[in-house]
């Protein structure tokens, strides 16, 4: 039996998937006659994941209200997904806004309670979470602000643990916990309650080798967002400006596995060395063709990485 099970973040399909299920395909296809109709509902999108061999999915925080509104309850969504072959909603994604400001902790924790409940209701076990807001307009954070952000995450982790969930810190190359703050921030985390989601491209763009990071922190890394990039070690002026995640010129930050500079072969050797077991997530936000990217990534896993460790 395989040690690794693959999940995929659903954010590559759109900011939201509008419909649970289309009732009449032709209502959309007639007059349009394009492939747009294939991407409008969860019913089809979930089947693509399962068909490609990804039995787990993740949801973004901005999908939460719509899941609740369209399915009535998060559990109904999980049931809907399971009927189509998804084994688990492996996690959600959130942002710890205002974590750097102690005076805002109470209200910030209150706002994040929703994602804890949502994740628990989905049956998820982890919340991948950006440790503070974006760098633009907020950074650079002072030492005290970094400490406050870590303290916030520890408290959030305790609250998550009550529902058997672990928050996994997910750093972004454009976040205010950035290259200069990362290690100091990690040192102040209580690893009993907080883990790390190693986003291979985000870490490499920020300025660190994700393979070495995993070797150094393999106990702390509880989850992955595997994705590739061609912007390793990006300069500050690209990473820290307004809206940096969306390049003004339309260039892609993120690519399917094996198309960029991340050393996935090296990472897989370490997964084997450290005997990583369980869910491993992919996230390829930014692709112009989610279906192609999902299949190319799975091909790379099957043919290049699985022979090393699976």
């Amino acid at each position: 039996m395989s040690n690794l099970k693959y999940s995929y973040q659903t954010n590559m399909w759109g900011l939201m998937v509008q419909y649970p299920k289309l009732n009449n395909w032709n209502e959309w296809y007639q007059k349009d006659f394009s492939n747009a109709v294939y991407y409008l509902d969860w019913d089809q999108i979930l089947k693509y994941h399962v068909g490609a061999g990804f039995k787990g999915i993740e949801l973004m925080f901005h999908m939460e209200p719509y899941i609740d509104q369209f399915f009535g309850h998060a559990k109904n969504f999980s049931d809907f997904a399971k009927e189509r072959g998804i084994e688990e909603v492996t996690g959600t994604f959130a942002i710890a806004f205002n974590s750097q400001d102690k005076s805002m902790h109470e209200s910030a924790l209150k706002s994040l309670q929703g994602i804890i409940d949502f994740t628990a209701n989905l049956g998820g076990k982890r919340i991948n979470i950006m440790p503070a807001g974006g760098y633009y307009g907020l950074g650079p954070l002072s030492k005290d602000q970094v400490t406050a952000a870590a303290s916030f995450m520890n408290e959030f982790g305790k609250r998550c643990s009550e529902k058997d969930i672990i928050p996994c810190v997910h750093t972004e190359f454009w976040g205010s916990i950035n290259k200069n703050e990362l290690y100091s921030y990690i040192e102040q985390l209580d690893q009993r309650y907080v883990g790390f989601c190693l986003d291979t491209a985000q870490v490499l763009i920020m300025g660190y080798d994700p393979v070495k990071f995993y070797d150094d922190y393999h106990e702390f890394v509880k989850y992955f967002h595997l994705k590739d990039t061609t912007f390793a070690y990006a300069p500050d002026e690209l990473r820290l400006k307004a809206g940096a995640e969306f390049q003004d010129g339309g260039d892609r930050w993120f690519w399917e596995l094996g198309s960029g500079q991340v050393d996935f072969v090296g990472l897989w050797k370490l997964l084997k060395k450290h005997r990583y077991k369980g869910w491993i997530g992919l996230e390829t936000d930014g692709t112009p063709d989610p279906m192609a990217t999902m299949l190319l990534s799975k091909y790379y896993i099957n043919h290049v990485l699985s022979p090393i460790y699976e």
Binding site: V17, Q18, P288, D289
Partner: protein, 330 residues
């Protein structure tokens, strides 16, 4: 002489599809403005949403969409530079900005506040939009006056048609006055899911002195009214007439539900590309021409599955099915 502009709400950010991500880059919008101009639309109407607690609004507000003063400053330098850019690519005017009370509701829900802050937030959004209009040299504030009935029934205690409606009227009066002081007109837009639908919209217009009417033709038809009759009834108080189209029949009372524009039961496609639905657009255009309407007609193919094609189809439709059939006089 009628002028045909284009609503940027043509571009649906709240959906999924191949290459949706490009819509979040400035490049997409820079190119889109060029394509809008290339399709012959010299005026554009912008949606305006200053909020960021609602996660969808947060996502949209941090990329290249000129959705707020903050977004324009962050991505285009300043309103002045934004207008200079628009003029350079061939767009002469921002015909107006559209604020939607439903965005206030989504902000309240997302931020965990209660409805006690609703009217303050709505007013704040309106005042900010008026300042934004001034900064762009634009002249019309288009207002969707209430959130969806579905949200109101869930969130508001008491009689919606009593205190809530009265406060809405008072707020609109305030916005009309504040806008007027700065040389801006306020036009109330109708939606089939609004508390102010059908006759209620007409009553509201009577109560808010100085307010104009920005009729959305598809919404009028879905409500069950005849767009030609409604436009005729309000022919002397029109601004930014929205040419939109539909074939949708609300068979399951979707107008009372949350996310009314995304039906789960029955028919699901609410809007048609302009000219492909059953709204009598030529009939409305005749009323406008006969009454000497000289304001903007804002064209929209809401939720189109192919934005670029929709732009060209709208231009063809306006030229061949409206202007030519009216005798060639734009």
């Amino acid at each position: 002489m009628m002028k045909f502009g284009c609503s940027l709400e043509l571009i649906n950010m709240r959906t999924s599809g191949p290459n949706f991500i490009i819509k979040q880059s400035k490049l997409y919008w820079v190119e889109m403005f060029k394509l809008v101009a290339a399709a012959g639309f010299k005026g554009i109407e912008l949606p305006y949403n200053p909020f960021s607690s609602d996660p969808m609004a947060f996502e949209i507000g941090r990329c290249g969409v000129p959705i707020s003063a903050f977004a324009v400053n962050a991505k285009y330098g300043s309103p002045k530079e934004f207008m200079a850019f628009l003029n350079e690519v061939g767009i002469e005017e921002v015909t107006g900005v559209h604020i939607n009370a439903n965005d206030v509701m989504l902000e309240i829900i997302a931020s965990g506040q209660d409805m006690s802050v609703y009217f303050n937030l709505f007013e704040k959004m309106g005042m900010e939009a008026i300042d934004f209009l001034c900064s762009l040299g634009s002249k019309v504030l288009v207002v969707s006056p209430t959130p969806e009935i579905g949200w109101l029934e869930r969130m508001v205690n008491g009689d919606l048609n009593g205190e809530f409606a009265a406060k809405t009227t008072e707020l609109l009066k305030k916005l009309v006055a504040a806008a007027k002081e700065k040389g801006i007109s306020t036009a109330i837009k109708n939606e089939y899911w609004s508390l102010m639908r059908g006759k209620a919209a007409a009553d509201l217009l009577n109560q808010v002195e100085g307010a104009l009417f920005s009729p959305d033709l598809a919404h009028i038809q879905i409500t069950g009214d005849d767009p030609v009759m409604v436009i005729n009834a309000h022919k002397h108080q029109l601004a930014n007439v929205r040419f939109s189209d539909t074939d949708f029949t609300d068979e399951v009372g979707n107008y009372k539900k949350i996310n009314a524009e995304i039906p789960v039961q029955g028919n699901q496609k609410v809007f048609s590309d302009l000219g492909e639905g059953s709204v009598d657009l030529l009939g409305v255009a005749k009323v406008l021409k006969d009454n000497g309407y000289d304001g903007w007609i804002i064209c929209e193919s809401k939720k189109t599955l192919n934005i670029h094609r929709a732009l060209l189809k709208m231009r063809w439709f306006i030229d061949h099915e409206i202007v030519n059939k009216l005798g060639g006089d734009k």
